[in-house]
């Protein structure tokens, strides 16, 4: 239990293993799972009995909560966020929730404010604006 009590995503305390791991935005997960679902469909007529409930629920969820649908927009979102000094986890929270203001952005990812990085309010605002533009032109 001791390790768990330390856990706090707001301070980016998610354990070393996950901190170094590749995070996925919902829209990226949607692309991966849809691809896998199509593959299963080709292999058998009824893929529903091959997939787990966890897979099915995840697919429904990421389809519902994907900010970007087409693969180009998904790639672009990650590309824009990657220009800023963000941890993988922070990048994906921002990509998933698309906050509209600096205040909202900091409320969603409090750790971006805490670590004394080269990310001032102006930079955060520019980042969020760039992100919102993808949505508009998609």
């Amino acid at each position: 239990m001791s390790g768990e009590e330390e856990e706090n995503a707001a301070e980016l305390k998610i354990g070393d293993e996950f901190l170094k791991a590749k995070c996925l935005m919902n829209c990226e997960v949607a692309l991966i799972l849809e691809h896998k679902y199509e593959q299963l469909q080709q292999m058998s007529d009824d893929p529903t009995n091959q997939i787990s409930q966890v897979f099915e629920k995840s697919l429904q969820y990421v389809k519902r909560f994907s900010r970007y649908k087409n693969p180009d927009a998904v790639r672009q979102a990650r590309e824009i966020l990657s220009r800023y000094p963000l941890a993988e986890f922070e990048l994906c929270v921002l990509g998933n929730l698309c906050p509209e203001t600096v205040e909202e952005g900091i409320a969603m990812v409090p750790s971006i404010k805490n670590r004394g990085r080269a990310l001032d309010e102006e930079a955060i605002e520019k980042m969020l604006t760039d992100l919102s533009l993808i949505k508009k032109f998609e």
Partner: protein
């Protein structure tokens, strides 16, 4: 949050599968064994996306079974305390029996509130963690509504919430969430949407 990580598992295979398609057999058995499972450490294993390596097999004494260490890439879903995410309301005001450690949730056992789902994980938001200006309304579609009626939480509403506690057992992760904070709460409700 979803992650793409590499995990390892020792797979036991019966000698009758040793042949040209040994690797295929290993992979399909791996998928059957691990996809859809959940552990406290890595969360829910949603889908295997690739095989990194299959190590040298080791014959087990007495049985003839061979154990192969298999490294595989997979998508997992792991909720974290402090994480903010979007979820779909599945049930409002069910009296929930919560078997939570007292340090995570000290407010008693029988709770009113709503359940929401984010992918494979269930999240419970209790009365105390819903803004005070929202009140419970019973009826055909039980819901929480503000006094001016402008905001409503009911089944199928989409909410943005913060996870404040997790409970892990052998096969499940269960979360406690709050919507009582800035920028949290309803993002769409099925009544107003076209």
């Amino acid at each position: 949050m979803f992650f793409h990580i590499v995990l390892e598992r020792n797979m036991q295979l019966h000698p009758r599968h040793f042949g040209r398609d040994l690797r295929e057999k290993l992979v399909s058995k791996l998928m059957k064994d691990v996809e859809g499972t959940c552990s406290g450490r890595h969360g829910f294993i949603v889908a295997i996306t690739g095989i990194e390596s299959v190590g040298k097999g080791l014959i087990r004494d007495g049985t003839g079974f061979v154990t192969f260490p298999v490294k595989y890439q997979c998508v997992v879903f792991r909720p974290f305390k402090g994480e903010i995410l979007e979820a779909v309301v599945t049930m409002v005001n069910k009296l929930a029996l919560l078997h939570l450690p007292i340090d995570i949730y000290p407010c008693g056992i029988l709770q009113m509130g709503f359940f929401a789902e984010a992918g494979p994980v269930q999240i419970f938001v209790s009365n105390h963690l819903i803004p005070d200006d929202m009140e419970f309304q019973s009826g055909d579609v039980p819901n929480y509504t503000t006094s001016d009626g402008s905001v409503k939480i009911q089944k199928e509403s989409e909410v943005r919430l913060k996870i404040i506690g997790t409970r892990v057992d052998a096969t499940e992760i269960f979360c406690i969430g709050t919507i009582k904070d800035d920028f949290l709460g309803v993002i769409s409700d099925p009544g107003t949407n076209a």
